[in-house]
Amino acid sequence: MQTPSSNSVGAVTPQTMHFDQPLDFRSGARLDAYDLVYETYGTLNAARSNAVLVCHALNASHHVAGWYAAEPDNIGWWDNMIGPGKPLDTNRFFVIGVNNLGGCFGSTGPKSTNPKTGQPYGSDFPVVTVEDWVEAQARLADRLGIARFAAVMGGSLGAMQALQWPLSYPDRVGYALVVACAPRLSAQNIAFNEVARQAIVTDPDFHGGHYYRHNTLPRRGLRLARMIGHITYLSDDVMAERFGRELRDGHIKFGYDVDFQIESYLRYQGDKFSEYFDANTYLLITRALDYFDPAAGYGDSLAKALARAKASFLVVSFTTDWRFSPARSREIVRALLDNRADVSYAEIDAPHGHDEFLLEDARYHALVRAYYERVAKSIGAGA
């Protein structure tokens, strides 16, 4: 499976780009200056035509592939997809991963110091939208001398960015790979996000989002938020197969500590997450998910919203994904078909639910590989 030492991009180093040009957010808020942390893999060709932007989802970062020399176990979140000879082949493409604004892995976000107060922004950091992220990514592309991406790719919330790109910048994207996406959240999706947010903001250690000042972290809230999120990433089938009703200690204990393995697993995931992820970033990113709705400005017509896209699209969904089910991807496909866009759609019968987009499924990877062959041909870099 994932053997980072074989065809991996190897040891990588994140870079930071500082921006002094103010960025106006969709909310009306403005950030006068900010940093974006990013990684690149492969080589930008002389024509600057082989760049691919990989957008991250809720809890990921700019660390898409490879590992860090000082932390060999810290492997990029999409390392099985990106590398030399992999579906997104870094021998051909120049791949960029960016930590989005509002993130907690180095780009300016709630943890960063607000120059106006000398304190961390905390909950004063503006609510960021998918459109704002795309804007920031476009500015990074400008600075890297990339006028047009050969492709923009993402899964889940990352896929929303990949979908937004051809809307924000129709002439700057050749291909959009939109995996496990939805054109906007359902009431149920928003409901799950709201429970997660309530878990965080009602944690006594949250302190209205200014927990940094109190030298504490709302770990309990973040842990619960992650547990809830995690349930939605997995399918019923895979939970049944992996945990079933298996008991951790072999017998029930007539109490409220861990009896079932699934409880142990969720607590472990929650604990791990609450140590490395920032609660304000979690709030902000779930809001970005809630607010994403390209059709809203077009009389709720996704077809009208997508009319300005010029890119070619590959849309991929997974049959057991109930968070963003295949029906949600088909809404996107239908809107693209209404516009006679270049679109291909694959619905992969796979067991793992929403998380499947991160896994190494042979059919899924073969499709992405075949699609990048097409992208490569379009820029004269075919095999």
Binding site: D338, R340, S344, Y345, A370
Partner: protein, 200 residues
């Protein structure tokens, strides 16, 4: 027994001749995308293939066509009315359960339909039935117990079917061994039938 994989299929050449250059084509059950890729190359069409099988979706992507993975039995609800000049259903109808609905869907999303299927009325099939056996031929290379075909018909049956559905047959041809039947009764001499029709 690889009739459906023959690269120079005569019915493809015929279908190509029916396609207006630059028109919009939907190829249902597109397989590996050979026909649509050919129409794209030779006729400059735009359009999509539709297939349910993972391997065919991948092969179509490799062949450079737009492909939508979808189950034809569930209809074509991702496509708008009259979105295509021609909707093709090649070598697929006989393997479908919802025969009438797919014909109606073809007529809904396309101005014209093109359907090809193995002609059960072909003389070699009749001879095998007369001899007491289910026919096995190049166009129907399956034993009765492992065939994907569930709705086989003759050209005479399909003529009546079109009439019943209010479809006007614009053209109908028959082929055997990749050669068109130009004289005699196509329902007797043709192993493969190709119809071009539109809703009246």
């Amino acid at each position: 027994m690889s009739a459906t994989l023959t690269p120079l299929r005569a019915d493809f050449a015929l279908i190509e001749s029916w396609i207006v250059p630059g028109s919009k084509v939907l190829d249902l059950g597109c397989g590996d995308g050979t026909l649509l890729a050919r129409l794209k190359r030779e006729r400059g069409v735009s359009g999509y293939g539709v297939d349910i099988a993972d391997a065919n979706v991948l092969a179509s992507l490799v062949n450079g066509i737009n492909v939508i993975q979808s189950d034809l039995e569930a209809g074509l609800n991702t496509f708008n009315d009259k979105a295509f000049d021609t909707v093709i259903l090649s070598h697929t109808l006989q393997a479908m359960r919802n025969t009438k609905p797919i014909m109606e869907e073809i007529a809904r999303v396309g101005l014209e339909g093109v359907v090809s299927f193995p002609n059960f009325g072909y003389e070699k099939n009749r001879v095998q039935v007369a001899a007491g056996h289910m026919p096995v031929s190049e166009e129907m290379p399956y034993q009765w117990h492992d065939t994907p075909n569930v709705h086989l018909c003759t050209m005479a049956d399909f003529d009546r079917f079109c009439t019943d559905l209010g479809m006007q047959v614009i053209d109908r041809r028959a082929f055997t061994d990749n050669r068109e039947i130009v004289s005699g009764d196509p329902n007797l001499l043709g192993a493969l039938a190709v119809y071009r029709f539109r809703k009246k």
